[in-house]
Amino acid sequence: MISAIARAGFIEALRNRVTVIIVAFLILLILMSQVVVSVTALTLDRAITDFGLGLMAYLLVALALYLSIGTLQRDFDRRSLVAVLSRPIGRHAFILGRYLGVFGTLTVILAVMTAVYVAQLLVFSVPLTSAVAASILGLWVELAVLSALGFFFSTFSGAVTSLTCVVALYFIGHAPQGLYAASSQFPALLRTVTRGIYWLVPNLDRLDFRPQAAHLLAVPLSDVAASVAYGIGWTGLLLVATIGIFSIRDVR
């Protein structure tokens, strides 16, 4: 059941023009990174590593937001979920199937991007470090968390509200320490609220190993494992909440 819905979502996402355009744009940009490298003052290794990983991160995050928020919104707006939910399946199967369809699409695109990126590193004789692998793994888990966030918000709010919330959480999630530090200067009530947000927002910074990759620093395996577990935990929590809300929602 879940795999059938996921497969349909995967086919849909790959046939969606926006997906195709973003993927083509990303491949083009990665291949053009030698142009960037030629004008940068940074060392070749660092420039190519950072530029490629950054491109993949920002464009795939944009795609994750588009697919995760757009999928449920389209299903509600076009009422295409009615014909599926009238079958003998639970609401949880629908959410999990649609989620896996989106995440599967992102995974395949990330795999293709990684292949192009690694080929480029090899062409330029840039060392392929464990930190690069950790960065890509961290990005993969971050896409899982962000997709789950997109699904969570789009079960009970419109596309614009969902996008605003997820983008805000993305930026807060990437600067949680700054938020926490800044809160010490706030009045008591605002400080409590800010620190509450700090604990309620997934710390996406934990999944970002790009600085280590760019500076050729080693990343302890235990750090990577803990971050991945943290990301998977958040993904699970968000999906459980999404299923809970979707299960009690009327489908008109």
């Binding site: 819905i5 046939r15 009615v82 014909a83 009238s86 003998p88 009327d250």
Partner: protein
């Protein structure tokens, strides 16, 4: 055991910023027996689609229960033998027609080995075999209707719920749907059929449930709803302008020298005598039965006049 049973089913929706509640369905009570074709009729906003969605578990009732095969909609297995065609369906548009049916077949728990043949069969039934590989987004409205109908027929369901099945179809397509409903009925399939095309209901349904304003207004066989032969159509030829329509008669229209009247059975003899006295030729006297459409319109007019009187 009834295939469908509604007991006091009620549902209201919040509308607008202030959350004003609108009663969509109120205290609905009806059933559908095995092998029966039941027509659900009523004007726009009468609660037909809401009733169907309550039965399928897409909406949660405020009170009362609706069951499919004796099971509550909260139990997904209640829908195991149900084929549903939604109103104005929009399936996943990036899939091809066949991919959509593969999805529907897997959700209907068809065995993978039997799925291909089952899809070919329903594609042939709705005459969409030639278009099965095209993306749904390239289909016309009628083709989308047909492919979704094929999805509903997959797996030979024991209950078909069809919400406006002929909407968007050309006359040939409408004929095809009518023939499909007849063949399903012959095969013992129960059908809940919701439409605005009341002539289809008259021709296809064993029983009719009429909803007005979310409440059950009338229910019964088509014949019982239309009543007996209480009026006659009388056609007169001659100088009709000189003929004053007597009480109990209603002028239906003129065609050349010919005028047609609807005359109450109790007034028929007096009407004929008056016509003969006016030296008019009586061209036709025939029993006149109300169509379902006229019956529904009269119900709605009665509703409006009662509402107006109350206000």
């Amino acid at each position: 055991m009834n295939v469908i049973a509604c007991n006091g089913l009620s549902k209201s929706f919040k509308l607008g910023f202030r959350g004003r509640r609108v009663q969509a369905v109120q205290d609905l009570q009806f059933s559908l027996a095995q092998g029966e074709v039941l027509g659900l009729v009523g004007p726009n906003g009468s609660g037909k689609s809401t009733t169907i969605k309550l039965l399928l578990g897409l909406l949660k009732p405020d009170s009362g229960t609706g069951t499919l095969f004796g099971k509550l909609p909260s139990d997904p297995t209640s829908r195991a033998n149900v084929g549903y065609l939604p109103e104005s369906p929009v399936p996943f548009e990036y899939l091809s027609g066949r991919q959509y049916l593969e999805l529907q077949g897997r959700l209907a728990r068809l065995a993978p080995a039997a799925l291909g043949a089952a899809i070919d069969e329903v594609l042939a039934l709705v005459e969409m075999s030639a278009h099965q590989k095209h993306a749904i987004r390239s289909y016309s409205k009628g083709m989308v209707q047909r492919i979704t109908l094929a999805g509903a027929l997959l797996g030979k369901p024991e209950l078909l719920i069809l919400d406006e099945p002929t909407s968007g179809l050309d006359p040939l397509g409408r004929g095809l749907v009518r023939d499909l409903i007849r063949s399903q009925r012959k095969a013992g399939v129960s059908v809940l059929f919701c439409t605005h095309i009341l002539s289809d209901v008259e021709n296809l349904c064993d029983r009719v449930v009429m909803l007005v304003g979310g409440k059950l207004r009338r229910a019964g066989t088509v014949t019982s709803l239309l009543g007996g032969d209480t009026t006659y159509e009388v056609a007169l030829e001659g100088a009709s302008a000189a003929f004053i329509t007597p009480p109990g008669a209603e002028l239906l229209g003129h065609t050349g020298e010919r005028s047609s009247y609807a005359v109450a059975a109790t007034e028929l003899q007096a009407f004929v005598r008056a016509a003969l006295a006016a030296d008019l030729k009586i061209a036709l006297v025939a029993p006149r039965r109300l169509s379902l459409e006229e019956s529904l319109v009269s119900e709605l007019k009665a509703e409006t006049s009662v509402g107006g009187a109350i206000q």
